[in-house]
Symmetry: D3
Subunit: 291 residues, 6 copies
């Protein structure tokens, strides 16, 4: 997997587990969190986004890339061992935009990765791929897909596409059904879906370093008290969250149950997302924005 | 849900999550444990039992009610937001008594609750609804009903009745399949079924405050070493027991396995209950006794 | 099981499989269908109902019995080998009536049967024990209980009570979740739930003659084209329906799907039953009426 | 659903179950089979394709439409009660083409259908959505998605998208995972996947006329001797195939098992499809071609 | 797989699907039934048994072989395409005998088959591998092993051993859990377990000719009215029994259920087998006797 | 179970839970770990092996026994309450050796135990009974058997044999599917399969002292971060591992995933075992060697 002809990095430094990792969506919220951690795992960290990437470190290669641009994506994958794919749109958006960033863009990524011999992709799927399950259910990796918007539909597309590339070519993918990864929960719902930055980084670490992952699905949530998910079928990844939303529960004190008993944003795991789509096309909506 | 016409409680105090909670069976063992805790959760705590209720606090309303008395139950439910129903008979008893307290009484409760707009009932079901499962099995919320006595049969009735009221009217219920909730375990079997008072109160808290519960089934046991139950399908309730029977294991030291290999009280989870019924009618057996 | 001291029936005639079968609810719709068939299976057919039973044949014993009358039921069970229990109320009714006929009455039946050594009861449960499942689901014997009315709740009670008597005493029961057994379907819904009289009789035959049945649950429907049930877990009973509602499909020609998309009577298997309950008490409502 | 203001069709003729059905892909192999049958089911049959549609009957409305053209699709859906969607690409093809016809085109269809109040879509999914399951497995409606090519991936997309429109808006879809529907099987594999034209038409009929279908998944295969699928979870549709591939078995006599034990086209249900993709873009490849 | 150096059979005749099939246990009850059928499927039929094999046809090769003799078994497998293994002991027997014939013998068979490149073995397992399941259960291919005797234990061994040879070397096996294959049922139990000779031959045909079988488990029963098994997971084999025990039901008319409610021979699917073992060693008990 | 007539041990000492425990394979790696612990659990500890047993303590009885010697095993079981069976071969070995030690030897053990009234056997099965499951799966007690060698096949045999003795005679067995129990993990794979000595002893303790175990299957692994197993169905045993391989993870730092994507030793849980067998017979290979 390492390219012995590439002399631009001295062999003395080449003792990290990976030779070159690609991080897409590096300018986004989660990309920023992860970017530093990758330095410990790879000699070279290639970062990309459609947005500016800030200062580039010595061990980094930076590229501004629109995922919908096949040629650019092909170049981006060159010499890459593994990918952490956070790029694309990560919120509900008009279909046209999602089509370019999350469907055409994802195909470009997998097609190029396969052609260039990439062995593994860690793919930021989302709990919105299953957000139309009720909040009174607990989902495992085999739960039926129930996207809660067009964004969620594109995440389902990504899970199917990556499954195909694994079955057809052995290109491994870990689909991270990420909950809500922020500094801290921003709502009562996020007490359930919260994924601390530290746990997020650990989840990516497990996804990259487990020797074989096949095509895996794992929920990205911290060890919160209330849980809608069950990761027992992904125990082979060794992801054991260390954080919990419990310290933040006081911010959103439980009251009596909400009286609007037919409010879909209260009934389904997707919360407000279940009513957010479908969106009409907007002017100037940038495809390929970072997560 | 709050009744703005009721002026008897000053608005300045009305900042607790619930306006009025009803606790039935308040004079019983578990009712006494819970009664104090409810003060923190509701402006007004209405307590009822067929037995004397002791001193009534300023925030409390007390009522001596026979659950089999439909009119009395109807009055009891007036103005109530939610119910914790511990009332009725909680041990094996003659059918006639169970019929009045646990079947007729429960129907009275649900019928009145629905008519008066109550939104949720926390229902003390029992592990005896499934007590004829062997001690070598582990039950989740979907385990088939296997009542171990007529008492258990009435608990199955309650689970079916409450399911109907949820499907028909959206009246939510959490069925607590309570194990053995005492100061401490009283037998080797109770090392498995033990539910500490603290965990019991926490379980009721989760059942009342989770925003949506639908019709849920959860086992009421502490985090004991040996377990016959699996609450993973109720993870959305956020119940995480803090206690365990381990500190009491020394009271009932394990010996060699009991030699009577066909003893049903050793083979089934219900323990001695599996042989306790059916009981013949007795004189002066009080229906509606507190749990 | 045969009583060799009973000389009232000559031994020469005593060559039928059963010595004495009890049929409750014999004056009802299904009771009338079955009554004749039983003559071939038992030397003596005891028939009972709360309503008049018509002419009594030579091989028959007739008894007018209110199931809520414990002493009368006890006498009814004397000397009986097996029971086909069609008695009680078989439609939605006020709770008081259901309580007497279907709860107290059923307890009387099982209690007496056990005390008198009856070995098996074929129990007319109902599809209304699971009628709140959507019409887009297919139910097997392990489907969760979802009663669609108080009548359905009492059928769930019967399934739990009979389970207990099997686990406790080995008294076997086959719970027949009967669909709609009439001369012919009376609505589009009944095209799905139709059970021809011939198939009904065959189902009872299988339930009585299979050597071991334990506590079994089987759906009573003919081989209709559209099906909401799956009897594969009851294949040990050998019930293979010979009829179908297909010849009656022209009576209820399918139109475009009904436009009222939130009409519960169209969404749930129970059809009109899902809105029929709970009923208020009525004057003069006879408990214990025949099925 | 019928439009009483529309006077262009005399009321005397307006006695067919549907007022107006839309058939997309009407110029394709299966479209041609179905086109005639629809005349019996709807007053007006609107047929569309990107290819010429031949002679248009009196009860028909014809439209040449590229599914990727949102405005054209919106117009196509006007006044439609229900849709049979056979349009789009139905074989492995370059991603660009599939993207336009099967992804953008399908979004256009659902988006327009929802806005115009269409109540149901019968969607031609494919066994290629699950074609990477081994030939030694039997799949039911809950089998995990395992697309065997990019074409299959777009079918998975369609199943997710239609699920969303059902959960969000109640727009019902039956996903037909059609096997191989031709005059007769063309290979040994098609003996397993064969769907006769007659059974295909019956399957569409069941999908249109069943009163409620929710979001259903059903395999479109005849009653062939060897089967890789199990439609028991879709029994509520009432699809009972009348044909079988058995009369054609002599055309492809079984030999000794194929010796190439690692040949994926023999190991997976998708057969030759599993190696067909991904295809490189071709010049002049028409998107939106008929099935 | 065909041996081009073997000139003893003229090429003109070599048009049957298999070049050489081996039938072990050919002198036994089922071996005799099958021997003729094999002539249509293979140019050369090699038959073996520990007992005399009768007249040998022109297309046959006969060998008297003790399965416990590794060298003899190795020679027996030479040049063989596929095996139908009916050899070994097929009834409860002392462990020593079973060890030689069914354990050591089976290992010899698989070890030699693998070394000589045999591609598939049709293995006569037995319903006695699962005979300790109750008669009120219905078993599919994933039912837990519950052998009802030491004979059944050796059949479990065979299923595990063959699974290993498939996982390790790709040597395919179909495990036939044969019920009771005789001219006609000999008891009421055999009405359930009956496999007609015709259906048995068809089952072997399906097992040999299905293109890929992996490691499959299928129950060998005819289409009897009462069934304890469910072959839906083996639908890929295409086995559709044409016979039924129904014509023989009159031979064993159902009476009232057997009164001995704790009789294991009535409670478990294995019937009398469940009490037959373990047997003490006997003098002169021949190992390797034919089925 | 204690024999009150046996005066050879003074009553004052006879206060341990068991009267006499047998430990086979006592000279092996795990046997040595356990031997001391047993002193606390039984008045008399009988230890056996085919290899020298070292110094014999006052409370011990020692016996050199070849498990393949039926008479010797019969004597060994005399007066025993329960057995911890670690004896036999615990690595891949030629079939002949495994046959003697693990098949004939195990039969001797169970046959003698049953005849002498032993109530429970704790049986050292192995993760190699299921070692051909992929490393991307998580196995519970119902996972299908997938032995990864002939050694694993003999462990499957033991699980079937013991199941039979439980169903037939009520002789209880806990099958311990032991992972890798050493001082510390010796490879990256053992980070997953590691069972600390302390946890191993606790697992045996739970297996001996739980009042009823029936026929149980439990995985013997510590609380390692990465897990391939799920013991939730064995929660009734109360085994809660206290150790983890995490402190040893630094010894086998994760690199980039291994590049040989078709290496079975990386793909399957059995690791190197999956290629170790079948072994050819060797000279002087001792049967019955200790674990």
């Amino acid at each position: 997997m390492t390219d012995s002809n590439d002399l631009s990095v001295s062999r003395s430094a080449a003792r990290k587990p990976f030779r070159r990792l690609l991080l897409t969506g590096a300018a986004g919220n989660l990309g920023k969190q992860l970017r530093g951690a990758l330095a410990d795992w790879a000699d070279i960290v290639r970062v990309s986004d459609i947005a500016p990437l800030g200062e580039v470190a010595a061990h980094e290669e930076a590229a501004i890339v629109d995922l919908a641009d096949a040629a650019a994506v092909h170049a981006l994958l060159e010499g890459v061992d593994a990918v952490v794919h956070l790029g694309g749109i990560s919120v509900e958006a008009p279909f046209e935009d999602l089509l370019e960033a999350n469907i055409r863009g994802l195909y470009n990524l997998y097609s190029s990765a396969q052609k260039q011999g990439v062995k593994r992709i860690v793919y930021a799927s989302s709990n919105h791929a299953v957000g139309f399950h009720p909040v009174t259910s607990v989902l495992d990796a085999d739960a039926p897909l129930r996207p809660d918007g067009l964004y969620g539909v594109t995440k389902c597309f990504g899970e199917s596409l990556s499954r195909y590339y694994f079955d057809r070519f052995g290109l491994e993918t870990v689909c991270l059904r990420i909950g809500s990864s922020f500094e801290q929960p921003k709502s009562a719902r996020m007490l359930v879906t919260y994924l601390s930055y530290r746990d997020f980084i650990e989840l990516v670490r497990c996804s990259l370093f487990t020797n074989r992952v096949g095509h895996a699905i794992v929920y990205g949530v911290s060890n919160n008290r209330i849980s809608w998910v069950d990761n027992s079928k992904a125990a082979f990844l060794g992801f054991r969250p260390k954080d919990s939303s419990e310290p933040f529960e006081h911010l959103f004190p439980a009251g009596a149950p909400d009286a609007r008993f037919d409010d879909p944003t209260q009934l389904y795991q997707g919360g407000p997302f279940v009513l957010a789509g479908p969106m009409e096309p907007k002017r100037n909506n940038a495809a390929g924005e970072s997560r």
